[in-house]
Amino acid sequence: MSSEMTDTTDETLIETGFSVETDRGREPTDAEGIVRSEDLSVYYGNERALEDVTIEIPENQVTAIIGPSGCGKSTFLRSINRMNDRIESCTVEGELTFHGKNVYDDDVDPVALRRKIGQVFQAPNPFPKSIYDNVAYGLRIQGRADEVDLDDAVERALKGAALWDEVEDKLDESGLDLSGGQQQRLCIARAIAPDPEVILMDEPTSALDPVAASKIEDLIDELVEEYSVIIVTHNMQQAARISDKTAVFLTGGELVEFDDTARIFENPKDDRVEDYITGKFG
């Protein structure tokens, strides 16, 4: 959070009306969502982490997921691109569709799914390879390095992630030599290089300083023209600033409210959501 953001925190929260920039120049779409879930429950062993979540996530918009720690935000994100498959104890019930197709159907290949749904993680995790190789990695493993002009694709992805100007002259240097904020933008470049349709972001700015964080926020605003972005965040101001829709999860893995961001922050229906947003809870 920058100091400017912190200042507004207490005064503008709730009652007086949370300040939400409503006009992002993006039309609210009524089209069917790109990702939908229907009574989705996720368990770790016998522990239920998500309970009957039904949600419809719109295409080419930013959807924020907020809620107290341990309420299942990351679990929900991981169930979209089936990264939950990597956790042995994890089982999924209900439906989660991408373009109307249940991703848990037997004929769905999680590898193919993840090529359409990119992810950016909480802590920047560049590979111990050069900047160039980091960005080119997705296209290479997907066997598309020959189809496209790789140099061009890397440049476009780095420009898309607002990192090109800073690394243009040192593409051969290790991605690990960048600052934390640059590393995170490198990870975003890596995620968008293979041109997915959806980008999942799990607290992408929580490990960054305010300046680096606001760069990423600006970036998300641009990304959404081409991609559907689903972002988990603990930062209410961030959710309010950058998202079109907000989903509020509460402890127990329950989706309590999901609506236009402006509505959620200005006039939440559920008292628990109001408490959470105003900081009385969670």
């Binding site: 990264m83 990597r86 993680f121 802590a123 590979f127 111990p128 997705g138 493993i141 890596r190 293979p194």
Partner: protein
């Protein structure tokens, strides 16, 4: 500096602290003494080897020259030692070309590496990247048991199984393809127990082969490669795997392009360790590969490694001070230098890759 007269901010120390410092010092000295033991032992071994080896080459021990005024006289020349192709210091017409037994050791080491490195690495990748937690928890202890088996048992395994069944079978089917596998087994049955007995009696009758030596040393170094490599792979942060999987990488791609490069320093360390072990391996290799110094690449021929020579000489009757007795130390010194080189190489590689991958 008693507590009563304490003044100032209380950071000047007092009697209790002084005691603590004293016991600290004592413990430090004990630890240092323990650390010294290994250093002293290493230096002493090296000196004894060097001293005796000098007498092999120059006819007098260094200590004798220095202390009693003996003079050097050439016995075995370096040229003969390093370029001669016949090794028989205890023969009636002695020959001192060390190449055949160095070759024996190298052939076993390289051959064993060709067995243990691919199998060990694949095992490590399977355990680290593919196996479920349950499978891993079952398989790892088995591997560790394999690593703990005494080498004489491996030698026996070579004598009673590898040589007659596997090597014999391959020999019959490659050299004499008409003969069936069963033929070869029954033909070799008398050798199942005999070689061991014969060896104990000091008579060479058994059937030894380079191939059996390679296979047994290869087998026994697999756990070393797999276990250390697996540890290195487990140490690769899961975030890297997640990053790759989220881009749509397959398990194979993650294993080969993310995990292997990130774990490379540990994996190389395991290779070097396995190779050093193969160089120094004695019991099993002697029982499997034999005692006949042969400069040959024929996998079915009997060979002799440097360690096998040391065993046979140490077991033999040559008198102290004779050239063949001194040859023990020359070969020992050479072996020592070879393993030392491997260790230094290991350190080098580690440093190198530690810089590249953090």
């Amino acid at each position: 500096m008693s507590t009563d007269t304490k003044s100032g901010p209380g950071i000047s120390g007092d009697d209790t602290l002084e005691d603590a410092h004293k016991s600290n010092d004592r413990v430090r000295r004990i630890f240092f003494a323990c650390a010294t033991i290994t250093v002293v032992t290493t230096v002493a071994i090296f000196l004894v080897l060097f001293d005796n080896a000098a007498s092999y080459f120059f006819g007098a021990r260094l200590s004798e020259v220095l202390l009693s005024g003996d003079t050097f006289s050439r016995t075995v020349s370096f040229t003969e030692f390093f370029t001669g192709t016949r090794w028989a210091p205890d023969h009636s017409t002695p020959a001192h070309g060390v190449l055949p037994i160095v070759w024996g050791t190298l052939a076993i080491t390289i051959g064993a590496g060709l067995v243990s490195i691919p199998i060990g690495t694949a095992t490590a990748l399977y355990l680290s990247e593919y196996a479920s937690t349950g499978t891993r928890n079952k398989l790892k202890p088995v591997l560790e048991v394999l690593a703990g088996i005494p080498t004489i048992v491996y030698g026996y395994f070579a004598v009673s199984f590898l040589t007659p069944v596997l090597v014999g079978g391959i020999a019959t089917n490659v050299i004499n393809p008409a003969g069936g596998l069963l033929d070869s087994i029954s033909h070799l049955a008398p050798f199942v127990l005999d070689p061991a007995a014969e060896w104990m009696m000091g008579v060479r009758v058994g059937r030894y082969s380079l191939l059996a030596g390679v296979l047994v040393v290869g087998t026994m170094t697999i756990p070393m490669v797999s276990s250390i490599s697996e540890d290195a792979m487990q140490a690769v942060p899961d975030e890297l795997r997640n990053g790759a999987y989220a881009l749509g990488a397959t398990k194979y791609q993650v294993s080969i392009r993310i995990v292997l490069p990130a774990a490379v320093s540990g994996i190389f360390a395991s290779y070097i360790l396995a190779l050093s072990r193969a160089i120094g391996e004695t019991m099993a290799v002697t029982l499997a590969a034999g005692f006949n110094a042969n400069l040959t690449a024929n996998p079915f021929a009997e060979i002799m490694t440097m360690t096998a020579y040391l065993v046979s000489m140490a077991r033999g009757t040559s008198a102290v001070g004779t050239v063949e007795y001194q040859s023990l130390f020359a070969v020992g010194l050479l072996l020592f230098l070879m393993t030392l080189t491997m260790n230094l190489l290991n350190d080098r590689l580690k440093q190198r890759f530690q810089e590249e991958y953090r």
